[in-house]
């Protein structure tokens, strides 16, 4: 992974995926979560985005500057499902992020899955919260395509074998009051990528005998660029340099029906 160098006094807290003892993870991981929620995969190029098939993905960095600390918002939209009208649910996602992308976490705190499930986002410390977002879930039930707005919270999970983990709580209220927690682990990759985020996506239940729900679209913002105390906030660190062609992103998605897909994209380099 990439070591994020930061001029802040909290530099020692900067997380880099490449470190032997990974106290932090690249931002890629966070993005990965996002992707994991969704089904199909599309890569994206910076503000716009093009993706394979009908999916699109749109990352955006704020501020858009090399080496800047701020936030990353990733928006993913998925096209129509093959037959049912709902996208295929994702069961596993391997997300590849550009080398150098990092997260600055001034106060390293994690939240356990059990605590997140039982107490919700408010049960975890603010320091462990890395981002928030929203999504649209779809499911066929009876003759209807039922849609539901989902709220997302991204947390740093406990380290497992010295590896960082991530958790995403996805909660919908109406018409189905349900929540699921997605988890992910980080593994090193080869250039031009820095790290991979490997996500296991659990089924999203609706009602007995009916198909599980899947995500149609989602938007997740990791870090912040609006904190009144930037040195105390979790932020995303843009790599200090950008390779020709932009920052590379890729994903390998395995769907519930056993099929898989790949997507590649480059995010345009930020201006200096």
């Amino acid at each position: 992974m990439q070591r994020t160098s930061t001029p802040r006094s909290t530099a020692h807290r900067a997380l880099s995926l490449s470190t032997l003892v990974r106290r932090a993870f690249t931002l890629s991981a966070l993005l990965a979560f996002t992707l994991c929620l969704t089904s199909p995969l599309g890569a994206s190029a910076s503000p716009g985005t093009q993706a394979s098939g009908t999916a699109t993905i749109a990352p955006s960095l704020l501020p858009n500057r090399l080496g800047a600390m701020g936030s990353l918002r990733l928006t993913v939209n998925f096209g129509e499902g093959p037959s049912s009208g709902a996208p295929l649910p994702v069961r596993r996602a391997v997300l590849r992020f550009p080398a150098g992308l990092g997260i600055e976490i001034p106060h390293l705190r994690s939240c356990s899955i059990a605590r997140l499930r039982s107490r919700g986002p408010s049960g975890c410390s603010a320091e462990s919260e890395l981002g928030t977002g929203h999504a649209l879930a779809e499911a066929m039930a009876g003759s209807q395509l039922i849609t539901e707005n989902i709220s997302l919270w991204l947390f740093l999970g406990p380290f497992h074998n010295l590896e960082p983990t991530f958790e995403i709580l996805a909660r919908g209220v109406t018409p189905f009051d349900e929540q699921v927690v997605l988890t992910g682990t980080v593994v090193p990759d080869h250039p031009p990528y820095g790290e991979d985020l490997v996500l296991s996506v659990p089924p999203i239940p609706t009602v007995p005998l009916e198909p599980d729900a899947s995500m149609a679209s989602m938007s997740l913002t990791v870090g912040t660029n609006k904190s009144p105390h930037p040195n105390q906030a979790n932020t995303v660190v843009v790599p200090p340099s950008c390779p020709a062609g932009g920052f590379p992103f890729a994903a390998e998605i395995t769907y519930a029906d056993g099929s898989s897909g790949n997507a590649f994209a480059h995010a345009t380099c930020p201006g200096r």
């Binding site: 039930a141 009876g142 003759s143 209807q144 209220v173 109406t174 018409p175 189905f176 009051d177 349900e178 009602v207 007995p208 005998l209 009916e210």
Partner: protein, 256 residues
């Protein structure tokens, strides 16, 4: 909201089941039905799930079902507080999207069959269940059955609450009109069906005293006690060829 009485018997739910059980008779001489509660606990909001499959001895489709009567276990109740209602007219004219979301009573589907010349056409269908207006204090369930391909079919029927003999608690009965599809083909019948009733995880926002409030529907409440051998239920299927079939599926008692 409101509408249906709180703590009304679950009978309505069974009605749905009836719809599911619909087919059978001629070639299909055996009907296999499975029922279960989710969550499987006593005296709690639950979903009742039913699957029905006709096992045929021959290749011909079962005779069309013309009437279904279902009896639910005693003690099974429907808490429809917070639920709305839909009318048969609305459902017929506008389909499920025309009904209030909080009038939803369940989901279902299955596979229907039509014989055309020497070919048997299998066609998936869906069912949407809604609470209908009560009549003299009795529940009514609306069922919207829909199939798209290869033959488009739409059907709306109403299941009415009927008295249930012991050891059952409530009964529902529904008459099903002949379902014609394409010229030269047999009337449609059913090969398999499934349905789920209840709303253990369904919630809606409504305005209470000027404040937007999240309301959780309780839906179906499982019986507080389970008789030895499980919860008894009964389904009576009457076919267009004059025969009938009675099944007595038992819902197992919760473990532990």
């Amino acid at each position: 909201m409101g509408g249906l009485k709180a703590q009304t018997r679950l009978v309505a739910l069974l009605i749905c089941a009836c719809f599911l059980l619909a087919p059978s008779a001629l070639a299909a001489e055996t009907l296999v039905v499975h029922e279960n509660f989710t969550p499987d606990r006593l005296g709690v909001p639950t979903n009742l799930s039913i699957t029905a499959n006709f096992l045929s001895n021959g290749g011909a489709p079962p005779s069309p079902v013309i009437k279904l009567t279902l009896y639910a276990p005693a003690g099974l109740k429907i808490d429809a507080h917070g639920a709305g209602t839909c009318s048969q007219n609305t459902l017929t004219l506008h389909g499920p999207t025309g009904c209030p979301p909080n009038s939803r009573a369940g989901f279902g589907g299955g596979v229907g069959v039509v014989a055309l010349a020497n070919t048997v056409i299998h066609e998936p269908y869906t069912i949407d269940f809604f609470f209908g207006p009560t009549s003299h204090g009795h529940l009514a369930l609306l069922a919207y059955a829909s199939a798209v391909a290869p033959v488009p079919v739409e059907l709306v029927v109403t299941a009415h609450e009927v008295p249930a003999p012991k050891p059952y608690g409530l009964g529902f009965s529904v008459e099903i009109p002949p379902i014609s599809t394409i010229p030269g083909a047999s009337l449609a019948s059913v090969e398999s069906a499934f349905a789920t009733f209840g709303a253990t995880n369904v919630a809606y926002y409504e305005t209470v005293h000027g404040k937007r409030t999240l309301v959780h529907l309780r839906g179906m409440i499982s019986p507080k006690h389970c008789p030895s051998g499980g919860f008894p239920s009964e389904g009576i299927v009457e076919f267009a060829n004059g025969t009938s079939l009675t099944v007595n599926p038992t819902i197992p008692c919760p473990r532990g």
